[in-house]
């Protein structure tokens, strides 16, 4: 193999595009972890639910963009429900209980989706052409997904930095005890955060619908890698998470290109385990 291999370049560019979507997936989970201090292990299943919303609305003739907005709204409401019904009652118990309770939710959503929609693979039938740059070909659906993901990240950044409630969310993430003393209703902040996390999952659902088939067990494919990214970046550290998603995107693309796709994920998970031992606080240390 030549040192400069045009297909390797293509793989790396695809890795960048994959990193964008992974980054968006990790963003919502990271936000919830940073603020509410809870790991929603069923996060990818919320994305899956959003994908079904997109799929069915699209199947009934709703334009893709509107279907995506509807998915964001539906999953945002689901996020509220998850917090209010599952997390809030056990917020003060050991963190592992919350993780396991959302593990129950994971099972429920996966299998309830199977009951409702069967285990069939469903495709929205939207197919976009590919962009050709010389020998390199990149699919437009990935480019759009990447662009929207970046826009989502910037939008969240703007929201957290420039709005009052965003400032309150950041303050709670920094010190939840003191903020109660300052008269902030943390319950409300948690609810808002959960809803935003849900909405981001809905947005990710729209983007994934452009690229892959909908399937009740799709979460198993994306869930574990999303946690890995969040932890690699330092749970709750959004910048770190975003950086980690590009690292993981590159690993998956390059190893996938040179050896095999499955092996690429093995390498990504092994790297995760190693990083946990060496730098459990993530690649970027969370600022206090």
């Amino acid at each position: 193999m030549d040192f400069f291999d045009i297909y390797l370049v293509e793989a790396m560019l695809n890795g960048v595009l994959l990193g964008g979507v992974l980054g968006l997936l990790a963003l919502g989970l990271n936000l919830i972890f940073g603020v509410v201090d809870v790991v929603w292990i069923a996060y990818a299943e919320l994305v899956m639910s959003g994908m079904y919303v997109v799929y069915w609305l699209h199947a009934f003739g709703v334009p893709m963009v509107l279907a995506g907005l509807a998915a964001m709204a539906v999953v945002a409401v689901m996020g509220l429900a998850v917090h209010q019904l599952i997390i809030a009652p056990i917020l003060n118990t050991p963190p592992i209980n919350q993780l396991l309770a959302t593990g129950g939710l994971l099972f429920f959503l996966q299998n309830f989706a199977t009951v409702l929609f069967s285990a069939e693979f469903r495709n929205t039938g939207v197919s976009l052409p590919s962009l050709r740059l010389g020998d390199i070909s990149l699919s437009y659906s990935r480019i759009i997904a990447f662009g929207v993901a970046i826009a989502g990240v910037l939008g969240l950044y703007w929201f957290l930095k420039k709005t009052f409630i965003g400032a309150a969310i950041r303050a709670v993430a920094q010190d939840r005890q003191v903020m109660v003393l300052m008269g902030v209703d943390t319950r409300k902040i948690y609810l808002v955060t959960s809803a935003i996390g849900g909405a981001l999952a809905g947005l990710a659902a729209l983007l994934l619908c452009l690229q892959i088939d909908v399937h009740p067990f799709i979460g198993l494919q994306y869930g574990p890698i999303t946690f890995m990214i969040c932890v690699l970046g330092g749970l709750g550290n959004m910048l770190g998470g975003f950086l980690a998603s590009f690292i993981i995107g590159q690993i998956i693309s390059i190893v996938g290109f040179s050896i095999s796709q499955d092996f690429a994920y093995v390498v990504a998970f092994l790297l995760f385990i190693l990083v946990m031992f060496v730098r459990p606080e993530g690649i970027l240390k969370r600022r206090a």
Partner: protein, 346 residues
Amino acid sequence: MSGRSASPALRRRLWAALGLAALLVVPHLPWGQYVLHLIVLMLVWACVGTAWSLMGRFGLVSLGHGAFIGIGMYGVGLLWNTYSLTPWLGIPIAVAAAVLVGLLIGYPSFRFQVVGHYFALVTLALGEVVRLSVIAARDFTGGSLGMTPKHAADEHVSWFALQFSNKAYFYHFALLLWLVVLWLWVRIDRSKLRTALEAISEDEIAAASIGIHVTRTKLTVTLLSAGLTALGGILLGQYNMYISPEWSGIGVSLQVVFASIVGGMYSLWGPSLGAVLTIALNESLRNAFGTRLVGASESIYGLLLILFIIFMPNGIYGGLAAWWNKRRGPPAPTPGADAPSSASSR
């Protein structure tokens, strides 16, 4: 010891002997192959759940026990299919491999204080590594399609290949493994190891400061749990005569956790009770709905888990034991049935 009533210890032994006799009669009762099949499954899951709880009840929550199941079944299956190595040798090799992996994950985790949900995520990644490695090495593992152990020359009873067409054989193996796991649980329960682990799950630094070797203590139960879980996986592989990488996936790992929590992971009989209940629930829902509602039983299962974590974190057995003790007045300290220290407080 008074002459009229037997001492408690003697009475316990009598009950144990009676129970064992009853268990040995089970496979000879005239219920069909289907019921016996369910009983074997329950026993194997009881083994795996109890093995998981050996760690879980001390706050070492692993979401990757499927990894050990997979290493066990693929270890034995691959050695048998590629090298025609008898499971008699394959089993120790596979169990050793599982223990080694447990060591490779456990030692750095405990050394570097990867605890709580970080430990859970590391083990979750381990399960994925095993599952995806099996899929990636599809040339000789069969990939995601799974694989079938080669049939032995004698279709019905082959002690060399440990393949038996009669389920009663597997019943006895599973029963033996189950008794071993329970015996180990009781041994740990009565030992200093248990006190040390409880101290660690309360406060690791304080435990270390009074001279408990934290890493070694945690590693002991982890390696035990890994080896026993691998044995359970081997049993499943030989029994089903089919192995697949999905056994290492997050789905199976979570099912192990669920059954143990629902039953009650803090008590000796809890995980076994959970295994019995979850398989009974699964099968009755499947009989009720047939294939029309695939996934219905697992949905109910997921909901139950959420409800249990919120309302009854000690599980059915733990809840019943607490209720029974309250009714009887001052609690009689029964080993294993006592309240947990960390995971349910507050």
